[in-house]
Subunit: 306 residues, 2 copies
Amino acid sequence: MGRKFEEIIEKVKACGKKTVAVSVAQDEAVLEAVRAAKERGIADAILVGDEAKIREIADSIGMDLTGYEIIDEPDMVQASLKAVKLAHDGKADMYMKGLIDSKNFLKSVLDKEVGLRTGGPLSHVCVFDVAGMDRLLFLTDVAFMTYPTLEDKVNIIKNTIPVCRACGVDMPKVAPLAAVEVVNPKMPVTVEAAELTRMCEEGEITGCIVDGPLSMDLAIDKEAAKHKGATDRKIQGDADVLLFPDIHAGNLVYKMLVHLVDVQNGCILTGTKVPAILTSRSDSFETKVNSIALAAVVAEEMKRGV
Amino acid sequence: MGRKFEEIIEKVKACGKKTVAVSVAQDEAVLEAVRAAKERGIADAILVGDEAKIREIADSIGMDLTGYEIIDEPDMVQASLKAVKLAHDGKADMYMKGLIDSKNFLKSVLDKEVGLRTGGPLSHVCVFDVAGMDRLLFLTDVAFMTYPTLEDKVNIIKNTIPVCRACGVDMPKVAPLAAVEVVNPKMPVTVEAAELTRMCEEGEITGCIVDGPLSMDLAIDKEAAKHKGATDRKIQGDADVLLFPDIHAGNLVYKMLVHLVDVQNGCILTGTKVPAILTSRSDSFETKVNSIALAAVVAEEMKRGV
């Protein structure tokens, strides 16, 4: 367990240390993650926020602030705009949420002047290292886009491909999931899944292999795919990307994995100029550190991609 | 692991052996499950179908047919109607799908003269014994009702309560699941979940405690509920029934559990006069046997309930 995230961290070290700009950094859990990321050689951090409070928290957790750039800005909205501008201007390689609420964090990400817009919609991807599985699973979208249309799903796939590449998966297999593996006109999700498959076959979606609709067993379990005789499918239990019908399906599976299965995971927001890290209070310490590592390799991949 | 299904089997033995009518019994996997159910004292079986083929398969798997009633009917649709009539007439306590396709099996279940209609809609419930969990989880609906309306969800809950009671859960905690634990007008599922909660509080739904919307972590993980400070909720990580927004969310979680987690499970169709067992080809042998055991305790509960 955890082997594949270790590999990601090794990859970060190889490609040169990255810097994360932290938006409203006076948050104990975030500072702990940032400290671990620095100690493990994953990333340096620029801490934007209320300097007095940042120093107070750092003191209370025995964190040495030597080597961190601190930008003092007590106002939260202003702090988020200053932090995102660092990423916008290329002074930071990724952008991370601190104490600020998600709504204002996203406002800064989407700010027209200093934000991280690229024109397309944002989406969220969660990378899972599941004990016993021979590859990473990329779950999308389990947290950000609520009810994606067909067009949104095309964008979600496009947003996810650089994340896969950054993790060493050059031609990801994308499974648009449903309850069933055949098209049923009464289930719009299956019709859209077939359409995504056609779009990929005809070159409208590139850089990946799409095969849907797929049930979860055919997507992740090679034995089950064999048992069901799915020999004509492009995906036979070996999907990399699990594309969910909507946020409910995605989030319920995501939390089931986190709370019942031996996993490590990291999550980022993509579709942005640089990766944004939007961990939640309930994420574990390791998930926060993994998310910084994930953002770092994706930042490197995006630089190379340009 | 498996302890709780063992308890269910012990319960069947205590309440007197039940009989299952098998629809088109010439199916190797079904006969193996039926044999195990008989050997373990869970249920006797009446095998309806092509007797020659039944005997041939029994021979090939070394199954002794002594003690089984066999009704010879080579026509599949006729066999299903004869088998369901046994359950309809009280000569069998539950009804099980054999080689017949699901569509024709359901036709027999819904047959106006000899079927198992009760007036309300049918729903599917899957009972999970998850390694490390202190209770059973009742997942609904992961296989039958596709896009339940609010009214359907009320019926799903009503259909599920006797299954919980049969398994020893007298006042089940029902969690209408969503991606989030608060009402969001842009997510109809959360609005319906709140309405189900109100209906239960005001006595329109009885025999259970409903609290929704709930995210998966608040539904199943007591530590997470504590961490999130959900002390005002009626469910704090201790849900029994997981009520899914739709079949996609339900089925994806269900198959994730089956394929990645150490579980035992059994499934039945409810809302019928007697429990119907509609296992699929991809279900394991143990799941088929567990489903017969589950149907048997539910059959007993329904008799007592009348």
